[in-house]
Amino acid sequence: MSPLDSRGIKRDPAWAGRVFWLLAAVVLLWPMLVLTEFKVWTLFEASNLKPTLRFLGDFFPPKIEGEFLLLVAKETWRTVAIATAGVALALVLAIPMALLSVRVLSVSALTGKMDKLPAIFRTLLRWLMVVLRSVPELIWALIFVRVVGLGPTAGVIAIALTYGGMLGKVYAEILESGDVQATQTLLRNGARPMQAFFYGLLPQNATELTSYTVYRWECAIRSSAVLGFVGAGGLGQQMDASMKMFNGSEVATMLIVFMLLVWLADAISAWLRKALG
């Protein structure tokens, strides 16, 4: 028999638990809100609202002077170039690391345990990839802006390092997760590891590898626009400059161009991946 409330109706037995978890969530989240100084109402204080609205008001109409548009086009192209060059360099890092760290291609691991030395080497390589990708590209960019100066070079290096680790790790995962029978048979019949890669492992996983690379290139375009804000060149750097000048109409144009760029990269990458699949 469920207990009855004052009106003689059965009580919902789950109610107490529901109240408890609701309260627990508030108790847990409140300190986080305080810690992050989450004060939405400051947005709407009169002293803050006025400049915000004026800046947003400036957005319209977006600036569409020929000279400015040419500049934006050039910077957009630079953003794409940074992303592409970064990913290309990342491939140079990632492919050897992935190949060297993949267990499937180890002859000594073919029967039982891998030899000690190669096993240690593979572990070290994996750690290196973890280090490379655990530092966000923004941080790498900040570092390299100090080293090589303002401009696209820092952005390219930043993307290359983070994406090199990321691609290397994911490539290795893709190569290990697929069907390894073809590769294993080649190794068992005396092929060299690199031969087994090109005749077994690569054709087995080529689609997935390419598809992931194209997707990462799309991520790199978005990321290279952000890198501009720390001075690593491209559209982001222009946007940062315009924002510092409170030039809303310029910012609006670049935001629109940026959205178009992301949409275009997304469409190209989706099309490429579909064509491959």
Partner: protein, 259 residues
């Protein structure tokens, strides 16, 4: 887990043709992999041409593996590879790395691949992709790879599992012919007992990981077979075993993470 193969000892002369028969789970595949140096025996010794392969260095062992050919039951072909490449992969141990890469750009030895396929009636599939082939065609492509290799020890696991009776007969004949032509040793596991007795001079019967008999084909009596397949009699008359591999599942979608 009990050992898949135990208390088992036999000698195969170079150039001999041997069929291994026995019910499913008897350890036939494991035995083949042991001979191919694909598995290391936990106890006991294996000698290939009077050499203990497990006493060799990794490099020399890999070189030794290049002189034998293990054809697994499920043909080891990447779905997007072309048949010509899949067949020529049998030559890899004899090719340098550079030569094998160049062969990916423009296949070297197209004539050899073509001739190999012709012996299995697959000439017209030379430039098709593997995933366009039927299960039986794939199995024959896997066997045609033997012709591209120059191995002297051929270890073939259930070469007929996906073939119909007439194709089976042709495949076995081609296999034994190849072995005879190059004076190679041929050891095959077979579900198809009748075919084994007909085409192989020597039969090894295996049951529960142990040797049941090792006799010339002419001396294998129905009693031997009855005893070998006791409790599995349906496998004795089931001339062609059901293919062990399911049709290819569609590839899983790639999981994308923004890491």
């Amino acid at each position: 887990m009990p050992d898949a193969v135990r208390h088992l000892s036999f000698v195969v002369q170079s150039g001999e043709h041997v069929a291994i028969i026995g019910p499913s789970g008897a350890g036939k595949t494991t035995l083949l992999q042991l001979i191919a140096c694909a598995l290391k025996p936990s106890t006991g010794t294996l000698r290939l041409a009077d050499v203990d392969p497990w006493g060799l260095s990794v490099h020399d062992l890999q070189k030794l593996r290049g002189t034998l050919f293990l054809a697994p039951q499920v043909p080891p072909l990447p779905p997007r590879q072309r048949v010509v490449t899949a067949v020529l992969a049998g030559r890899l141990p004899q090719m340098g790395l550079w030569a094998s890469l160049r062969s990916l750009f423009y296949p070297a030895y197209i004539d050899q691949a073509d001739a190999a396929l012709a012996r299995f009636d697959l000439s017209e599939k030379l430039f098709d992709r593997v995933d366009r082939l039927s299960g039986g065609e794939r199995q024959r492509v896997g066997l045609a790879r033997i012709l591209a290799s120059s191995a002297q020890l051929l270890l073939v696991d259930e070469p007929l599992s996906a073939l119909d009776p007439s194709r089976s007969e042709q495949a076995i004949k081609t296999l034994t012919d190849i072995a005879t032509e190059r004076n190679a040793t041929l050891i095959a596991t077979l579900h198809h007992v009748e075919m084994a007795l007909k085409s192989f001079p020597r039969i090894i019967g295996m049951r529960d990981g142990q040797l049941a008999f090792d006799l010339p084909a002419a001396q294998v009596s129905p009693q031997h077979l009855q005893a070998l397949y006791a409790q599995n009699l349906h496998e004795l008359d089931g001339s062609a075993s059901a293919p062990h591999h399911a049709p290819d599942a569609p590839p899983l979608p790639v999981v994308m993470h923004c890491r």
